[in-house]
């Protein structure tokens, strides 16, 4: 019955190994050096990947109860609900198809105009549908873990979106899962443009709230409450024109040279389980081909200088003889 503190090995007064303080010092030094190695030298990424792959069975075991619950809930959805949802989706699909028809004609028109101008074509980015496994475990960061990993061809830096707008970017890839940093995370910045007037800016996650900030914009900047932010696409990661956020607060403090601008992301990260992971645009291959072209035909190049007037082409301006 007695479950006292266990003294089954008769307390050895002298054979207790190193003292507690010595152990603390040893392990503290060990973890400090680990932290330094991890944050400054990035040697430990492979080790981390290996261990996370080892954890995979444990992780799926931990996910099992909630998955089972979700599946049973989905199984018992009422007929009425399904019908309603179906109706709603059909209506949505109809509306979208109208938009899509216009988009197709606009796209062909756009590519035609671009070819007339001699500008480079916008490349299409492929997307993969992923599912959120769980939220990040660290309350200091805004992250989610998605069920697609390097086995499915996910690489670091990919943009992640949902039906409403940009969610974030892939920051760490494991074999069977990947970690997506949300745009509300303090570490993530995203180049944006204001839809109304085309003003470019960079939005940073706020960190504590689920908002994003637009710092370093002058106090007289033309931004109003309700303005919509879209991706500007000059980073070469996010496609142009995806919705990012809506401005909810613009404060101009006379003491500060910068305006205090806050926006709320439009993507509903809390609402869905599915999200789309866009593949990186093939900028590098485009550059390679552009450089080859430049090298092979310099004379043609001098006749049409606007052909090189694309932002992500390297500006190797050929010298006129």
């Amino acid at each position: 019955m007695a479950r006292g503190i266990d003294y089954q090995h008769s307390p050895a007064f002298f054979v207790r190994g190193p003292s507690a303080f010595a152990r603390l010092v040893f392990f503290a030094a060990l973890s400090l050096s680990l932290m330094a190695t991890d944050s400054r030298l990035h040697y430990l990424n492979e080790i981390r990947l290996g261990f996370v792959a080892l954890f995979q069975p444990l992780q799926s075991l931990a996910n099992l109860p909630s998955n089972v619950m979700q599946n049973t809930q989905e199984y018992f959805v009422t007929h009425d609900n399904l019908l309603k949802k179906n109706q709603q989706l059909t209506k949505q699909a109809l509306l979208d198809s109208v938009q899509l028809q216009r988009l197709n004609s606009l796209e062909s028109e756009n590519s035609h105009l671009r070819s007339l101008l001699g500008a480079a074509q916008n490349s299409k980015q492929e997307a993969k549908l992923g599912e959120i496994l769980h939220m990040g475990r660290d309350p200091f960061t805004h992250k989610v873990v998605v069920d697609l990993g390097s086995q499915e061809g996910i690489v670091e830096g990919q943009a992640v979106i949902d039906g409403a707008g940009v969610i974030g970017q892939v920051t760490r890839v494991y074999p069977f899962s990947s970690e997506v940093t949300l745009i509300t995370d303090k570490e993530l910045a995203i180049p944006v443009q204001i839809e109304r007037n085309g003003l470019r800016a960079i939005a940073f996650g706020h960190g504590r709230d689920t908002t994003i900030d637009l710092p370093y914009l002058p106090a007289n900047v033309d931004i109003r409450k309700g303005d919509k932010l879209v991706t500007s696409g000059i980073d070469g990661v996010y496609p142009t024109g995806l919705a990012v956020a809506e401005i909810t607060k613009v404060e101009r403090n006379p003491n500060s040279p910068f305006a205090d601008i806050v926006g709320v992301p439009v993507a509903g990260i809390k609402n869905h389980r599915q999200l789309l992971m866009l593949s990186l645009p093939k900028v590098d291959e485009f550059r390679k081909s552009a450089i080859k072209q430049l090298a092979s035909s310099p004379s043609e190049k001098t006749e049409k200088p606007e052909a090189a007037a694309k932002t992500d082409t390297p500006t190797v301006a050929p010298k006129k003889p």
């Binding site: 479950r3 266990d6 152990r23 060990l30 932290m35 075991l61 996910n63 303090k186």
Partner: protein, 159 residues
């Protein structure tokens, strides 16, 4: 006295790790008690000859791997907490159950505070008071241990 096997300890720690790996989200994520630390403290206070600062450190490394945070952050916080747990472990016999839970509560807060300091140094944003909710939920969980049949018996409890 019941014999404690090393296997039992590691199975408990594994179970705590599984609890940690459950897909928590939203308010549950904020209020999630630190299962791993509670299991560690339990074994450090009850069977200090098996679990020590080293065990705590390795458990912390596991948590670091699973959470994707910087290597060694949780490990250091656990090691510091385990150090204070081990230092006053012998005095635990004199505590009554309320003193014991107060002691564990202080240890939980110490762990969160150490972790917060480490993350702030690593460049995190200060997380606000909700960051300390896991301590409260953790000590509530500890009450179940105290009033169950696996409680750590103290002399003061009998009196």
């Amino acid at each position: 006295m019941r014999i404690i096997r090393l296997k039992t300890i590691y199975l408990t720690l594994l179970a705590a790790f599984l609890c940690y790996l459950l897909p928590w989200s939203g308010a549950a994520l904020v209020a999630r008690p630190d299962f791993m630390l509670l299991a560690l403290l339990y074994w450090i206070l009850r069977a200090p000859q098996f679990t020590n600062i080293g065990t705590a450190w390795f458990a912390g490394v596991l948590i670091d791997l699973a959470s994707g945070s910087l290597f060694g952050q949780n490990a250091l916080a656990y090691a510091v907490t385990a150090f204070f747990a081990v230092t006053y472990q012998r005095r635990l016999v004199l505590f009554n159950i309320w003193q014991q839970s107060a002691y564990v509560f202080v240890l939980l807060i110490l762990n969160q505070a150490t972790l917060a300091v480490l993350k702030l140094f690593a460049g995190g944003e200060s997380p606000g008071w909700s960051y300390f909710i896991p301590c409260v939920s953790g000590i509530i969980l500890w009450q179940f241990v105290i009033f169950s049949s696996i409680s750590i018996e103290t002399h003061a409890k009998k009196a």
